[in-house]
């Protein structure tokens, strides 16, 4: 097998040294079998440029830390095999989120804020009884909740979303999917009216223009189209008829 030499162009900017304007820096690395961008970037850091900033944690597409624009598209770098890319690779940090430096962005703060805004926890007036057995739940329901809960808060959907790129208060597909997760959960006692107050506006479900960049770019392959439509129908009914 002939090994390719990859040319990797990386966005460089450190907000701590604002005098140095953003620029693109080019590195070359030898490709190895099953090489991912995780391996490539670490090789660059260890052998060529130890100041290069990027984020990896699980390196197994589980934690959602490593999203970046790979040749323009939001991708998890750890699960992007270089063999699926041309030999010239351009890496940019995710838009929308606050830049920490080079390829590293602050998705964590954004998502914490989102979770606060959507109050993404089970709302119930019950108290836990340590002596009782658990409340029963249909396995189907459990699976349905889990299907939405699989979101890893990587931000790919948000970065790909045209709306989120111009409206900084837009909740994005990840936020609406979160709402869907709690809507289908029988333990959550919020009414549709309660949800409507949070997402029944252009910041929420009615801001979405249905461009499906989220659906195309979600590394977890969440059924975002279905989730968004589900939420939109429920919220439109609530908006017009005042909820069930």
């Amino acid at each position: 097998m002939i090994r390719r030499t990859l040319t990797i162009e990386v966005f460089r900017f450190n907000p701590q040294t604002p005098d140095i304007k953003p620029y693109m820096e080019t590195y070359t690395v030898k490709e190895v079998p099953n090489m991912t961008l995780f391996v490539a970037l670490n090789t660059i850091r260890e052998e060529q440029d130890p100041s290069l900033m990027f984020d990896f944690v699980c390196r197994a597409a589980i934690c959602g830390s490593c999203a970046m624009l790979v040749n323009g598209r939001p991708r998890l770098a750890c699960k992007t095999l270089t063999k699926t890319l041309p030999s010239h690779i351009k890496l940019l940090p995710l838009p929308v989120f606050k830049l920490i430096g080079d390829l590293s962005v602050d998705t964590g703060t954004w998502f914490r804020h989102l979770n606060l805004k959507t109050q993404a926890w089970i709302h119930t007036d019950k108290t836990f009884d340590p002596k009782a057995i658990e409340e029963r739940m249909d396995n189907e329901t459990a699976l349905k909740i889990y299907e939405a809960e699989r979101c890893i808060e990587c931000g790919c959907c948000v970065a790909g979303c045209a709306t989120a790129n111009i409206r900084d208060d837009f909740l994005g597909a990840a936020g609406l999917n979160k709402i869907a997760r709690f809507m289908v959960d029988p333990r959550d006692k919020r009414s549709d009216q309660n949800f409507f107050e949070v997402i029944g506006t252009d910041e929420g479900v009615f801001g979405c223009m249905g461009l499906m960049a989220c659906d195309d770019n979600c590394p977890q392959e969440l059924p975002l189209q279905m989730q968004l439509a589900f939420v939109r129908r429920r919220m439109a009914m609530t908006g017009i008829f005042g909820g069930k």
Partner: protein, 215 residues
């Protein structure tokens, strides 16, 4: 949230607007497709073609209809247009974003804005032409097409059907239950058939029907 927004805003406004966009879009697509089917009756000859406006006129549907369509077009323009970024900076962001992402659906939205605006202009010309040459019959239409409007209608046809096709696709994606790959395929077939019908009708008007004034 800013206080002035909190107290000043109508909680339900955004929901109403989105539903209005959905309904007006649906109505216009329905109108456009039936309209094209009516026009395409020319394939079966001028007699049948001429019957359609006659019936519509007799039942007053055309008078109310045209008026309604104009209103809905304006409404649709307002509600759908609310999502077009108001300032240049944001427009540039969207443009750059679409280029970088090179994702089909984002591009189609950009085109939707462009075609939407062109339709506004083209449709006004079309309506003006129809109304100024009232009533509707095959001979008058053929006259229009043969005199000056052939290329105009070619363009209008394609732009309208494209906008309608994408529009109804977007509606299905936003509100429907069906996976969008499937929706996309079905709608491509429908849109192509309608465009072909329209082209056939146009060609017939251009080359087959004898032009003339009132019968």
């Amino acid at each position: 949230m800013l206080l002035q927004k909190l107290i000043g805003r109508n909680q339900r406004l955004d929901a109403y607007l989105d539903v209005a966009e959905f309904l007006s879009g649906l109505f216009l697509v329905g109108f456009l497709w039936t309209h094209m089917l009516f026009v395409a009756t020319i394939i079966f000859g001028t007699k049948i073609f001429n019957k359609v406006p006659a019936i519509l006129d007799a039942t007053y549907i055309s008078y109310v209809g045209i008026f309604m369509v104009i209103i809905v077009i304006l409404l649709h323009m307002l509600v759908a247009g609310r999502k077009i970024p108001a300032n240049l900076q944001d427009q540039l962001i969207i443009w750059r974003h679409a280029r970088r992402l090179s994702q089909k659906d984002t591009w189609t939205w950009v085109f939707q804005v462009v075609t939407g605006i062109s339709i506004l202009i083209l449709a006004s010309i079309h309506i003006w032409a129809i109304l100024s040459g009232w009533p509707i019959n095959a001979q008058i239409s053929a006259g229009r097409v043969q005199e000056t409007f052939f290329w105009f209608y070619m363009l209008f046809l394609v732009v309208c059907e494209y906008h309608a096709g994408i529009g109804i696709y977007r509606i299905a994606v936003k509100w429907g239950w069906i996976h969008r790959q499937k929706v996309g395929k079905v709608l491509t077939v429908i849109t192509c058939s309608i465009v072909i019908l329209g082209l056939a009708a146009l060609l017939i008007f251009r080359f087959v029907i004898k032009a003339g004034g009132a019968p």
